[in-house]
């Protein structure tokens, strides 16, 4: 351990919710100018920990020392800033104004000095050594990575001693996180100490200085990142050695004839792309964000119009114009990637979230449904998909991300349907749920279903898919299968695609 000075020291932090311990005598220390990763499964106590630091929850015991003084986050105003997973902005105001909210509007003769507002925005980006955005741009026009960086930049205005980043990359494709990490490194060089919560282990290597693992409300280990391994960390998080993702899978044996054939498909001027997928196959369509792989999945599902080309399902060409309802009747399913915007019905319970559309399960929109029978069926489905808590009456928004995703998955996976399209099936999901979802997907593939995984998560594609097609600008640039389908190969092929796309 280095002898560096601690900016933040936490001892014996304890939090109870009624009888159960959410945090059990947790110790934690943050050194000056370090990036300290905090990892653990959902429910490990990370968010309770952060909420106590933010003063949202009162702790039931323990001591927090910031910069040599014992503090109480609920009453003292502390020099700790937070960047959340989904930062809130005044979307219809400009970048400059959103920064000015934190720093204050510069004034001249009592009125707002607009040119100084803009200059201040540019200056703060430059201090971070990041190419500044046009301060007049509305926040609603920013891309996800631009917003993530803005969230960090605006907290700088407060000159915090400690910056807590709560999964800022969860909504970002891996390739877009690079800018964010650059900003974090720059902040570290300026002396800011950071606590970085993430579900993506691989991004911690080379970024974090130390890593702390929580499990079941307890501090398990703190170690230098340099000596840590991915498997070792997963073992700490799970409390057991991880099950190897590849090897014993029931892959490849159950292959059949082509269920899906896509011929010369162009969508909105992009493409063409042609490929086939067999029964029982998990095929990945991989690319960088905006690479056009999402559009291919959506077009097959009837959610995007096709410019030209043919989609053949089970030997029969599908009509060019067809609604999503028609596609469901043809046996196509699609799990949308953006869970909160396009998939989960927040405010509705698990039964409702599973039985949205009876036609997905081969039923009719006009048949009388008995709530008792639906509840009973939902209970079985919840068991099968291992959704926790096992309460079919709880609202979906009360569940953790992984359990929400399992519920949405349960909506689409049943004994009906031939082709399942999955967009980012495990985004914003902890490692335990990720493994569980992969197992469910493999089970359904082994049952003869064709799976099309649309993903920017290369690690996931390498672990889950039998074959992967790398897509750029709606076109196939390469294909990997069998022993060739490794993370390294995917990274090198898809980054080639990225350069290719830029040079066109």
């Amino acid at each position: 351990m280095s002898k560096a000075e601690n900016i933040l020291t936490i001892r014996n932090l304890t939090k109870r919710f009624y009888g159960s311990l959410a945090l059990d005598h947790v110790d934690f220390s943050l050194e000056k100018g370090e990036i300290h990763a905090l990892i653990g499964e959902n429910g490990a106590g990370k968010s309770t920990f952060i909420k106590i630091l933010a003063g949202v929850y009162a702790c039931d015991g323990g001591e927090i020392t910031l910069d040599g003084q014992v503090v109480d986050p609920r009453t003292d105003s502390l020099s700790i800033a937070f960047v959340h997973q989904d930062p809130a902005f005044a979307e219809e105001l400009s970048v400059g104004e959103n920064i000015a909210f934190g720093m204050g509007y510069p004034r001249r003769r009592g009125l707002i000095d607009w040119s100084a507002v803009k200059a201040q925005a540019v200056k703060i980006y430059e201090a971070m050594e990041i190419a500044p955005l046009d301060p007049d741009r509305l926040v609603s026009t920013l891309t996800a990575p631009e917003k993530a960086i803005l969230a960090i930049v605006r907290t700088l205005a407060l000159a915090p001693k400690v910056l807590v980043l709560d999964e800022p990359t969860a909504a970002l494709p891996e390739a877009d996180s690079v800018q964010l990490f650059k900003a974090m490194r720059r902040l570290r060089s300026l002396g800011t100490s950071m606590i970085y919560v993430s579900h993506r282990l691989n991004e911690l290597f080379g970024l974090a200085d130390r890593v702390t693992v929580f499990r079941n409300g307890r501090h398990i280990v703190t170690e230098p990142m340099a000596g840590a391994t991915g498997d070792g960390l997963i073992e700490h998080m799970l409390g057991r050695p991880p099950v190897k993702l590849s090897g014993a899978d029931p892959r490849a044996e159950t292959r059949g004839s082509a269920v899906l054939e896509v011929r010369d498909l162009t969508i909105g001027g992009r493409g063409p792309v042609s490929f086939e997928a067999q029964a029982g196959e998990i095929l990945g369509l991989v690319g960088l964000r905006g690479g056009g792989q999402e559009a291919i999945g959506r077009a097959i599902f009837g959610a995007l119009p096709i410019t030209s080309g043919v989609i053949i399902l089970n030997g029969k060409p599908l009509p060019q114009k067809r609604s999503i309802g028609d596609s469901i009747e043809f046996g196509i399913r699609l799990l949308a990637g953006d869970r909160s915007a396009e998939s989960a019905f927040a405010g509705m319970n698990l039964v409702e979230n599973i039985f949205v559309n009876p036609r997905i399960r081969g039923g009719s929109m006009w048949r009388w449904t008995s709530p008792a029978r639906e509840r009973e069926e939902a209970r079985q489905i919840i068991d099968r998909f291992d959704v926790r808590p096992r309460r079919e009456a709880s609202l979906i928004d009360w569940l953790s991300g992984g359990n929400q995703q399992k519920t949405c998955l349960a909506r689409w996976l049943n004994d009906q349907g031939d082709l399942v399209i999955l967009e980012e099936p495990t985004s914003g999901v902890d490692i335990g749920a990720k493994l569980a979802i992969h197992k469910i997907l493999r089970g359904y593939a082994a049952g003869g279903r064709t799976m099309l995984v649309i993903s920017t998560d290369l690690e996931e594609v390498a672990a889950l898919c039998d074959r992967a097609i790398i897509v750029s600008r709606g076109r196939q640039i390469s294909e990997l299968a069998g022993p060739e389908l490794t993370l390294d190969q995917l990274v090198s092929h898809s980054s080639q695609g990225g350069r290719h796309a830029v040079s066109i």
């Binding site: 009624y18 009162a58 006009w366």
Partner: protein, 343 residues
Amino acid sequence: MSSQDIVEKRGTAAPQPKQRQVLVNFAANYGLAVIFVLVLIVFGLMRPDTYLSRSNIGNLLTSQSVTALLALAVMMPLTTGRFDLSVGYHVGLAQVLMVGLQANQQLPWVVSAIIVLAVGAAVGAINGFLVTRFKIDSFIATMGVGSLLYGLSNWYTQGMQISGLQLPAGYLSVAGDIFGIPFPAIIVLLVGIILWIVLERIPAGRSLYFIGFNPRAAELSGINVGRAVNAAFISSGLLCALAGIMLGAILRSGTPSVGPEYLLPAFAASLLGATSIRPGRVNVGGTLLSILILAFSFSGVQQLGAAFYVEYLFNGGILVVAVALSVYAAARRRKSAVHSSAH
């Protein structure tokens, strides 16, 4: 949030989580029913001779049937998250048309009723078309259509009352009694049962709620959002027409200025209804229960000698309190769920 946490931290005096959960759930689901019973008991004791008399109850049920149908009319588009502000003007038009077609055009009452229903469906379809096809915000579109309807009913009547002296007995019996129960109340009950079945037991009807909670997810689940929203507005139009047919028989005349005053109580009832039976969403049972509470508590206050303007204070107050209550209840339920799932 913060004061709540402090209260819970002290802990010892609070009931056990299980008990507490049951209590919270009961209050959330049946709070309105409890309030209704309390209202009946309190005013029944204060005015034992008049309040629970047959004639008072009969009058209340008859006069509130129109409000009840309009509250359901408002509720249907609200399930999808859309407003129908045209219901007040629409019931006015339906009422003058119903009386006018019989008095001026000498049409039989059943034919008049069919025409009024057809016009109602058409008005609903126009509202739906503006909202789904032209993507006009429902608030604006239905406000505009409402004013248009008001103009039409004043044009049709030239702003004057249509006398209902020659209205046939068959039509007037719509506002009569059957076995001592007001016929309008029976219609409301039947309509309520049908809507309840559609919204709670038939997947196609239930899809309206999915649209209300997350329209994009509903669309990607294969629900035809445009068609469902249109259907909600058409059913709203039909309910307004039915309310107008009933109102004409109750008033025994066609009065073009009648109608707009129904809008606020209709919204108040359906939003207050969203706090009970199926908390968090507008629903048939809650809406009808709210109508009863509003009517019976206002009648009680009236019998104690309150002035006419108290009605407006009442309806306005209820609307604000209803929305505040439902927001608070949602936060409360979320909190108790978070705590119990932390076990």
